[in-house]
């Protein structure tokens, strides 16, 4: 009988606990409901920052470098514009399928005035949602279909990440020079390895700008690229880096999301340049720096545009001049002497616009310059005519996503694709 009484007491207690809590907070819920509905009413009119609601769809969460960078950007925007937590609705780990459409619609129904999506495969679903909610702004990172979609509320954004890659290449090139000077390697042995994700323009543009950065200070450098066919695969990236090192590469860089390559380089004592995040915690003696993107300036710009009621660029791509690109702090333990000064010089030139990363005089394709190839009227090169003028390839100008997909001399792709 004692047990029965005990059980009864426990039950009553838990029930009363639930009831107690319930009555306390039902007010809060009601309050947030009214807030939400008032937001919906003013959705299309714009107005002050207190009326606005922002929705974000992420491919990953805070544990994944690429999404983490976007989240930091959103936080920066929140702070800059003074938005409260309730004004930003974030959906994480959304796969690149119809779930993205459901998420976009749900954000729209919650009264968001502007909705961001951060993964390439989201674009179709965001376009579909954008067509159904013409009064809501949809902004898609890394895509390219906004301009051709005929929708005024669909936008693409990306940053001129090739600039950060170029700067990180300069850091790598100086390191190679130091190794040549010390006699560790000869000038001919200055071969680098690059762990790439997929053979897409985004990756090709990235490794080419990195390579051009290296070459600007170390002319004898060459590079091998090996694809992993995955954006994020820790063990595969590590193995790929190890294979490249075994193949005689003396410096490693990457366009993939994990620290796999950094782990391999630290173990083998090979210097490396990372991507997205500072990798010195994984490779304290080997990581030189990482090419990185700061998404904050765009998020602040786009949300501010909605608040002010001004139009958002259909294709937005800014770089060093707006603070959207940077490299992570130099690892003083690993970089060559004088790197900081040279980096500052290159960065200043990028900001001032006096330095163009894809200067056509700095690279050749099968021994010819891109201008000659376009002129030679070969069908394969004619399409680049729109990009090349004034002595450089205008990357990310026609559309915000990278479009440089030429295989230049000095770089060898190991994967046959």
């Amino acid at each position: 009988m004692k047990k029965a009484i005990g059980l009864f007491l426990v039950l009553t207690m838990s029930v009363s606990m639930m009831v107690g809590c319930g009555s306390k907070t039902s007010n809060d819920t009601a309050k947030s409901d009214t807030e939400a509905s008032s937001t919906e009413e003013s959705a299309s009119t714009g107005g002050t920052s207190s009326d606005i609601k922002v929705g974000v769809i992420y491919i990953g969460d805070e544990n994944e470098g690429y999404t983490e960078a976007h989240m930091k950007g959103i936080d920066e925007m929140k702070e800059a514009l003074g938005l409260s937590d309730a004004q930003v609705v974030e959906k994480t780990n959304i796969p690149e399928d119809e779930t993205c459409y459901d998420a976009a619609i749900d954000l729209a129904e919650q009264g968001c005035n502007i909705i961001f999506g951060n993964s390439f495969g989201f674009e179709d679903y965001m376009l579909q949602a954008a067509g159904e909610y013409p009064e809501i702004q949809f902004c898609h990172a890394t895509g390219y279909q906004a301009a051709g979609s005929g929708l005024t509320n669909m936008h693409n954004y990306f940053t001129a990440v090739y600039q950060s890659r170029y700067v990180s290449g300069v850091v790598a090139g100086l390191k190679l020079n130091e190794m040549i000077e010390k006699g560790t390697i000869t000038a001919d042995q200055a071969k680098m390895g690059y762990v790439g994700a997929y053979p897409y323009a985004e990756v090709i543009s990235g490794y080419t700008s990195f390579y051009l950065g290296v070459k600007s200070v170390c002319p004898s450098a060459t590079m091998e690229v090996q694809y992993t066919n995955s954006w994020s695969n820790m063990s595969l990236e590590k193995e790929t880096a190890e294979a490249l090192i075994a193949d005689g590469c003396v410096l490693i860089s990457q366009h993939a999301d994990t620290t796999g390559a950094a782990t391999a380089c630290e173990a083998k004592g090979v210097p490396m340049v990372g991507y997205n995040v500072d990798m010195t915690s994984t490779a304290p003696n080997s990581a030189l720096t990482s090419a990185s993107i700061n998404w904050g300036p765009y998020y602040t710009y786009a949300v501010k545009s909605v608040i002010d009621g001004t139009a958002i660029d259909t294709d937005w791509s800014k770089g060093y001049e707006s603070g959207a690109d940077c490299i992570t702090p130099l690892n003083e333990k690993a970089v060559a002497a004088g790197t900081a000064d040279k980096v500052k010089e290159v960065e200043d030139a990028l900001k001032a616009g006096t330095l163009n990363v894809f200067d056509t005089s700095t690279f050749t394709i099968n021994g010819s310059s891109i201008e000659d190839l376009i002129k030679s009227d070969e069908a394969n090169f004619g399409k680049y005519a729109a990009y090349v003028s004034d002595g450089f390839f205008h990357e990310s100008v026609v559309s915000s996503a990278p479009s440089f997909d030429l295989k230049i001399d000095g770089i060898k792709e190991l994967t046959a694709n």
Binding site: A4, S14, M18, T29, K91, D97, F120, D124
Partner: protein, 370 residues
């Protein structure tokens, strides 16, 4: 589990006895109690993570599942898919043929509809295209069901392993096709198929995007109920399920029944694939079935193969899933929160069957407790 071997020396505190029979009302009371308990435990789990009170959590769950008409339709759409696959699995499981290959059969059906949408989308009128899609996806699912059934009946292969492995074959085929259908190039996904012309998409019916889904799945549900309960074939299925020897004695061609039933099961799975692809997602990927081929097994078993009970079970599961997705995004949890909730509910639902089948008695002295 029974009282065998129990001496007078020391009686155990708790004894379990198999019940001979249980009134349907008591059985349902036990199940309802399990659902309520599951909800309470779910609430405590969420409270432990979010530090919120349960009331608010439930408001969030209800809001997430049916908070506005869009969400309600998404919930209905997903209930229909789960229900349809459970219906498809029912004849196979009733026959004690462990078809855990629904995932692959659905994927093959989805693949067939995606292929038709891509290759003949702009060549034929939509009604003709949709009929072609239904036929082709059903056939694709049938083939995926026929292969393991053939080997089971003629070579007595293990159908559990066979159907499971067929899932991975289907996934690989889809991965392979994505290479050709990739859009936009470089995304490694197929994207929205025929976004502009909507060729091969279900038309709006009764003012709803998912009207046709509702009609088709409900027809399947009623049809399966009638098939199992009132046809000779349905009776043969339950005889084969109970005892193959009895079936043989009754001159039932067991091989034929196995193959026929799996063709039906796979065919409906394939048709569900087209309902997912043409009627909801308009894309194809390895996650098109999304594990629902496995969850549907539980739905079918939980419902004791009663198609109408399946409506309730799949509704409960999907309702809680959609609701917890809302909780997750509202309070910054990740998608595992929703899996946690589903896990707790399934634990209680399956666990309660123990109490339906067994009677628990405490030591006589404390009989008052019960």
């Amino acid at each position: 589990m029974s009282t065998v071997g129990q001496k007078e020396v020391k009686e155990p505190l708790i004894r379990m006895m198999k019940r001979d029979s249980i009134p349907a009302r008591t059985a349902w009371l036990i199940r309802i109690a399990a659902v309520i308990l599951a909800l309470i435990v779910c609430a405590f789990a969420i409270v432990a993570i979010t530090k919120l009170d349960p009331f608010q959590v439930y408001v969030g769950i209800i809001d997430g599942a049916i908070g506005n008409s869009r969400r309600t339709w998404v919930t209905i759409r997903d209930i229909l898919v789960l229900l349809g696959i459970a219906i498809a699995l029912t004849p196979a499981f009733k026959m004690k043929f462990w078809n855990i290959g629904a995932e692959g059969q659905v994927l093959m059906g989805g693949l067939a509809s995606a292929a038709l949408m891509i290759y003949v989308g702009d060549k034929v009128p939509n009604w003709l295209l949709l009929i072609t899609i239904f036929v082709a996806s059903t056939v694709a699912g049938m083939v995926w069901g026929l292969i393991p059934a053939f080997f089971k009946s003629y070579f007595n292969t293990n159908e559990t392993l066979f159907t499971l492995m067929m899932n991975y074959v289907a996934m690989q085929i889809i991965t392979y096709c994505i290479v050709f259908w990739e859009s936009p190039a470089g995304s490694n996904t197929v994207g929205v198929i025929n976004a502009a012309k909507r060729a091969g998409w279900f038309p709006q019916i009764l003012g709803s995007t998912y009207g046709l889904n509702v009609i088709m799945v409900l027809l399947l549900t009623v049809g399966m109920f009638l098939y199992l309960k009132y046809t000779k074939q349905g009776y043969e299925i339950s005889v084969v399920g109970d005892s193959q020897n009895t079936a043989r004695y009754a001159a039932i061609n067991v091989k034929k029944v196995i193959i026929r039933t799996m063709v039906i099961s796979g065919g409906i799975c394939g048709l569900m694939g087209s309902i997912i692809v043409s009627g909801a997602s308009h894309t194809i990927s390895t996650s098109t079935a999304g594990g629902r081929g496995f969850t549907a097994i539980i739905v079918a078993w939980m419902s004791k193969f009663n198609p109408f009970a399946m409506i309730l079970v799949s509704a409960l599961l999907v309702f809680m899933q959609e609701g917890s997705i809302q909780i997750a995004s509202q309070y910054g949890l990740n998608e595992n929160a929703s899996e946690l909730i589903t896990g707790i509910i399934l634990f209680f639902l399956i666990g309660c069957e123990f109490f339906v089948n067994y009677k628990v008695e405490f030591r006589k002295k404390q009989k008052g407790v019960i």
